[in-house]
Each structure stands twice: as C-alpha cells, then as structure tokens.
Symmetry: C2
Subunit: 288 residues, 2 copies
C-alpha cells in the first residue's frame, strides 16, 4: 500500500486523492499543455533551472502563460511534504479550462500540477545490470515535425510504445524513415570504436536535459559525440549503448530485441559517463 | 452570458461547473484517450453508430475499455437536459486515473465525459459564403504514422494550427513532404474539371465520419472521387474546394492564403454534395 501522497495543484499542496481539475481543462480535452520530469537528491532538485527554462520556452511557443511560482520552492515543499528526499518530480502546466472549442485564442488561467514519486525501487539494480531495448511494429516519430521538440501532454506515442513491450524494457521510437529517434521516456546513445552517437533532434527526439548534460560531459572527457540521423541497425551493431533521462541518469542497454549489444553488459564508456553524471549531481546538490 | 450547462461524467449528468476529474487521469497527464464529435438534429444524433464504432476500434487499439453505456441514451439525455436539440456533442473517453507512470499496463477505470454545445451561430452564413483556408509555417503531419489515424486526445497539432491563423479560417495541416493532409478540425476536398480529390489516409488525415459519407454520396452522384497524396498546390489550383466534419457538414473553402480558389465562391459540386448530405440527415433524423 502506498501512503497518501501530496501534490501541488494551482497555488499549494493538496492530497492527491482530492486533486481534481475541471473536465473542461484543455490539458484533459486537447493535450494542450506541457510537462517536465526531474529528480531530487537529498531534497534538492537537480537541473531544475534547465527544466524550467525548457518549460518556459515551450510555453512561449504555445502561448501558455507560466504562473509566477518559484519552482525551487514548489519542488522543495513537495518532496518535504511527501518525505521523499530522493524523488522523481513531474511538473505539469496546461492552458487551463476554457468553455469553447480547440482554438487557443481566449486567455485562460493556466493549471499547474506537480507530483512527487519514489524512484523505481529496482533502478540501482537495473543500472548495474543493464536493460533491454525493443523495436516497435510501427514508427512513432517523423523528421521535420517541430512539435516533437516540445515535451507536451500529447504523450500518447510513448504510452502506446510502453504498452507494446515487456515491462522494464525501453521501447525505441523510430522515424517513418527507419532512423532511431529516442526511447519512450529517454534519449538514446551508443558507442562504436570509442565514438559516441545519438540521434539528432531532427530525428524527432526531445532535446532532453539529461541528454544535453551527457553530451557536455562527453566533451569534457574527450569522447567525440556525433548527433545524426542513424538507422536502428547502427545501435544494434554498437559496442555499448545507454539511455538517458533525468530519472534514470545513464542506464545501460544490453540487449536489443533479445540480441546482445556488444558484450551484452554495461560498457566502459557508459560507466565513465554515468560516473561523471553522478559527480555533476554531487557538485550541484551535495548528495549522495 | 452562457447558461449553466450540463455534461455527462462517468454515469450521469452533472453541471459543467462541477464536472471535475482526477488530476491523475491519464487523459490529463498523457493525452491517453479518445474523443468523437457529432451533431444532433432535432434532438436526434446523426451517424452516432459510425462515431461510436470508430471510438471502439481506436479504444481496442489503445487497450482502453469502453464503458457499457448506451450511446444514444447518453446523447439524447445530454441534449435534452441542455435544451439543445441542434447541438455539437463531444464524447471523451480516457484510460482513467492511475497513480503510476506512463505505462498503460495496469487496468484503470476509464473516464467517460460528454458535452453538448450550440452550433456556431454563424455556421449558416459561413456555409453560404464560404471561408478562408490558410497554410501554416510548419508541417504538423507525416506519412506513415499510424497513431494519426486515431482521434486521440493528443490534439495539440490542431490547437497550434488554429492559434496560428485568423479566427474563422481553417488551417491546412501539411505533411513533412508538403502533401495536404487535413484541416485542423476537418477533412479537405477539392474539385478539378468535375473530379473530386481528397487526401488519402496515408497523408496522415483522420478517417472522418463525414468524409466517408461525402465519398459515398459522391459515388451515388456519379462524381469520381480520388483519394491520394497531393501537394497543397493542387488545392490552390482547384475549381472549388470544401471541408467536411460532423459539425460543419460540407463547408466551402473560397480562398487559400487570401487568393481565390476557382471563382472565389462556393462551387456547384460542393452545393450538390452538401444538398445530398442534408438529404441523408433528413432521412436519418427526420429533421430539419
């Protein structure tokens, strides 16, 4: 049994079981909103400024007003109230309720909703052993659709992808042209002969906050990183591979559709990058 | 001032101002749901069986259970309670609330929500005079993405499209390859030298219920219809054009980006098809 959790709705904390939004909320009716998921370490959020900046940029593109809340206060109070110093925090912002059709013209009062969740209990084990990646029977991304670059509530492709693979595996979203784009809830990287590869945002992936950190850490470590348009076969032929997100940090992929990637175990470049990621966490949060 | 409206939520009628859903509803958090919009004439729904069948097919694809409600009862009670015999009715079905992440595996209790709205007060005038179509600065559809064939809550492309054009104009969604796909809330047709053209569903358009009716009416009238992949330039060079939806029926397009389509006025094939549509409505509903 989970304890009753507390979430942030509009301007303060409420019990999750009581957190209700108008059925006219455009987030509910049209997927008209955005979200960010980030992690706290010892009660302190990591890369919150970067997540909030991405939210603001996308909100400006969509014409959604960002409430004048102090995001650090929101996140800190949320994880304290839930006694979850090490949490995954999701912040949702929608255009809010409007009585009329899909046109976004009329100003609405945006809805802000945030939740804290414990980290997956098996995350350390998964990070140590690596996980499976799976292809899907259909493409869920395409080149050249600018909306794909925003983390919107129109998240159904990832839902469908996760429903199509065994629990615990990360589905790989491909473009209609057969390029690997991203994981359902992550960005994808792989290593071949010491070089690091990852899909370019042109392949329809999200410009992940953890992805950007890993790219900059790779640069500091002298690992040349090459964003591009790559067929999924390149990932299958890699020496090692991993996915990144603010929740999983850098999580090794050790099999693709049941076949080993490289040696079928977490690789040395993945380990070095994850260690550097953890060091960046320590510098920023003092934890763990 | 609008009167207080009544909507259907879960198993019965409630005031819209009191209609609230859990903030954990997957429709709100992930766009994980579907909707249908249809019209009633003199209190009787038109093509409800077709809309409900599309909803069921998509719900099966997504693994969402369809509640055992009688859709005709729902719609009839809803428009009666609102004293809106001639209404646009939207039925929304989501996977329902779940406490955990985006994976759809755990069974949830689906959320059913339906609203009735008056028809746009200027619809007759717009139908008589025709409306403007507008291109957009970005593509919002792509070939070969099967999720585009379902009417899901991930409706943000249409929201963004409507926000980018003057009120009253219908934005044209194009594929990344420059094919015309559909309107933001409609399917698109045009006529050239007596032949009828419309985007194939491969162009990423929704298989509209009104679209299918118009295609079958065209066949009855001996107008040859050719679904295909067409550049938007073909529409610009047409003799006449129109959009279809269950709300607007067949609504003439008379300008594209300010330039007249054909004579810049509703065309004769559009008129014949709209008259046939109205005749189908009369046969089915006895109205108007």
């Amino acid at each position: 049994m989970d304890a009753v959790r507390v979430c942030w709705l509009e301007e303060g904390l409420v019990s999750e079981t009581e957190a209700r939004v108008s059925a006219l909320d455009r987030g509910f009716l049209y997927g008209d909103g955005l979200f960010e998921t980030l992690r706290t370490y010892g009660g302190r959020p990591f890369l919150l400024a970067e997540h909030w900046a991405r939210l603001r940029t996308s909100a400006e593109f969509l014409g959604i007003e960002v409430p004048a809340v102090e995001p650090e206060t929101l996140v800190t109070r949320l994880v304290e109230a839930n006694r979850l110093p090490n949490a995954a925090v999701r912040i949702t912002l929608t255009r809010g309720p409007l009585p009329k059709g899909p046109r976004p013209g009329t100003p609405a009062t945006p809805t802000l909703f945030a939740q804290a969740r414990p980290l997956p209990s098996d995350l350390d084990q998964r990070t140590a052993q690596g996980i499976d990646a799976c292809r899907l029977p259909w493409p869920l991304r395409a080149r050249g659709l600018p909306l794909q670059g925003h983390k919107t509530l129109a998240y159904l492709p990832s839902v469908v992808a996760l429903g199509a693979v065994p629990e615990g595996a990360e589905p790989l979203l491909e473009t209609t042209e057969g390029h690997v784009s991203e994981g359902a809830t992550s960005n994808v990287f792989w290593v071949r002969v010491g070089r690091l590869f990852t899909p370019h945002t042109d392949a329809g992936c999200l410009p992940g906050v953890a992805r950007r950190l890993v790219l900059s850490l790779a640069e500091e470590l002298g690992v040349s990183a090459e964003p591009g348009l790559y067929p999924t076969a390149d990932l299958a032929a890699a020496d090692e591979a991993f996915v990144t997100s603010s929740v999983v940090e850098a999580l090794p992929l050790v099999r693709l559709d049941g076949e080993p990637i490289g040696a079928g175990a977490p690789g040395p470049v993945t380990r070095r990058l994850h260690a550097a990621y953890r060091e960046a966490v320590r510098r920023a949060t003092g934890s763990p």
